[in-house]
């Protein structure tokens, strides 16, 4: 819709085909850009369809509407739309029991379906102790709704998700990253069900109890569980991306509940990921990636040859977007002991992950275009699966996290990752001390 709005702004009438199930999404996008009266033509072509006969029939059925959208005289409202005030609820929105609060929030589409902690004034005030910033400080306006991500609004969503105040600096950094990555809005709304994956580096990760070892991305830790969850609530309640309204993910993605790991810096033989991105080792940083896919592999072998063969032999040509290989500390140690630097590992993967000879022909497919349509550079190199481009000059990343073991993982999809610094408040040591012991103690049986 953004292109149609741009075109209308340049003085040219536009008509945009929109799949009939995507009209709400299209109109939310148009309203957010100030053109709620844009003319769309609903049609029945399923997203990503390639069946020509079906497409021709669908377009034939609505072509008169296209012609009409370009020629039917404008109404007064289309020429000069009436101002529409955004819905700005009062600060105190409800009073009720735990169950009533949850029912009220759920029915307004403000939750992820799980129960929330009621964001009372007292709970929000405690959350605000996690930052030096004033409650009304505006961090960003988040697209598409351009909702104001004030510190207090972030804190309200953080309380709902179950965060502790030590997580506030990470949430503020996360909001900044969402605004900085131009493709983020589309990723959260995309049919591909791309999910944010958050990698945390630096000393603040351990301070705030982000898990980097066994089951780093599994449920069970407040930090990993609530940080990603709060960012998901922020996506709904501040950005305004709601399921089947703006978020048109077809299959969905459980990562949207929360998908967070700290890098296992302590046991990695290499420099931490954020150091490779220009940050200092003693700085705390957050990296945002938007994969649609997570694959775990048992390596062919646990020596360097087996680990690298697993990557170059298992990545399929029908992939798209950013790529990260997840190594356990043992995997990384095997490679380092055999003389591999992280840069050399990445270079090896880019060079040797190739499209098998005759692959497309064997499948009866056209091999004239690369499958990774987001990578324009791929068209010039059809033999390689990872092709550096101006958008993504470093197409393979290496993350080291997880427990001591051999399983390895691939994250695939979305725009290149973004990394940003987490600014910790002046009283961080006191804050860490207050919440450091909020950890589970499991009974033996």
């Amino acid at each position: 819709m953004y292109d149609a709005i741009y075109i209308e702004g340049k003085g040219r009438p536009a008509a945009t085909y929109v799949f009939e199930h995507f009209v709400n999404d299209a109109m939310s996008a148009a309203s957010s850009k100030g053109m709620p009266v844009i003319r769309v033509v609903p049609e029945t072509v399923v997203s990503e369809s390639t069946v020509v006969a079906t497409i021709e029939a669908a377009i034939n059925a609505v072509f008169d509407n296209v012609a009409s959208a370009l020629t039917k005289p404008l109404t007064p409202d289309e020429m000069s739309p009436k101002s529409r005030e955004p819905e700005n609820p009062p600060r105190i929105i409800f009073k009720g029991t735990l169950q009533e609060v949850n029912r009220f929030f759920y029915q307004r589409g403000w939750t992820d379906g799980l129960p929330v902690i009621p964001p009372t004034g007292e709970a929000v005030a405690e959350m605000l102790t996690g930052t030096d910033l004033a409650p009304d400080a505006l961090i960003e306006k988040l697209e598409p709704r351009l909702g104001k991500a004030t510190v207090e609004k972030i804190a309200v969503n953080a309380v709902m998700a179950g965060c502790l105040p030590v997580h506030m600096p990470f949430l503020i950094a996360g909001v900044r990253l969402l605004a900085a990555s131009p493709g983020c809005g589309m990723m959260a709304a995309s049919t591909g069900s791309f999910s944010p994956f958050w990698l945390i580096n630096g000393p603040g990760a351990e301070d705030a109890n982000f898990r980097s070892t066994y089951g780093a991305t599994s449920p069970g830790d407040i930090a990993n569980a609530s940080f990603g969850r709060a960012m998901g609530l922020i996506t709904k309640n501040i950005r305004g991306i709601r399921k089947q309204v703006e978020d048109m993910g077809v299959l969905g993605n459980p990562g949207k509940y929360s998908w967070v790991a700290a890098e296992n810096e302590e046991n990695s033989p290499w420099e931490p990921f954020h150091v490779g991105r220009g940050f200092k080792k003693d700085e705390t940083a957050l990296t945002l990636m938007f994969p649609h896919q997570y694959q775990q592999m048992m390596p062919f072998g646990t020596d360097d040859k087996g680990i690298l063969a697993t990557v170059v032999g298992s990545v399929v040509p029908a992939r798209m977007g950013a790529f990260a290989v997840i190594l356990t500390p043992n995997n990384a140690r095997s490679l380092a002991d055999a003389g591999w630097s992280k840069a050399a590992v990445k270079e090896y993967i880019v060079k040797n992950t190739v499209v098998p000879e005759g692959y497309y022909k064997r499948l009866g497919l056209d091999d004239s275009k690369p499958f990774d349509r987001g990578n324009v550079a791929a068209a010039a190199d059809k033999d390689h699966i990872f092709v550096a481009s101006p958008l993504d000059p470093d197409p393979v990343r290496v993350f080291v996290f997880g427990g001591f073991g051999s399983w390895m993982g691939f994250l695939q999809g979305g725009p290149p990752p973004m990394t940003g610094k987490v600014e910790l408040p002046a009283d961080w040591p006191q804050l860490v001390k207050k919440y450091k012991n909020v950890v589970p103690t499991y009974a033996r049986y």
Binding site: P13, P36, V52, I59, A67, L70, R84, N88, K153
Partner: protein, 106 residues
Amino acid sequence: MTSDKATAAYEVLSPWAEADPVPLKGLSPRLDTLDGKKIGLLCNSKRAAPLILDATEKLLKQRFPAATVSRFFARSFSVSSLEKDRAQEFDDWLKGVDAVIASVGD
């Protein structure tokens, strides 16, 4: 826990962000007819998009024989917001057409 609102325990803040009113813009004047006009066909990188425009071009030529078409292929989901390096190319293309039919593949 009571369900009596008079003794309810939680007074809660709204998680829904405030937003400023967005300055609204109207649409461009429409054409009197498509016949004899140059119609821009814009498709993004989604794979249904060019197929939709192929079908559109066929119908345009049938219904409005004097109309001509010019295509613009975006490399991404949105040329105007994600392809800043092509801003001039896109503007030049727009100047050369009378109206645009856009296919975004969704």
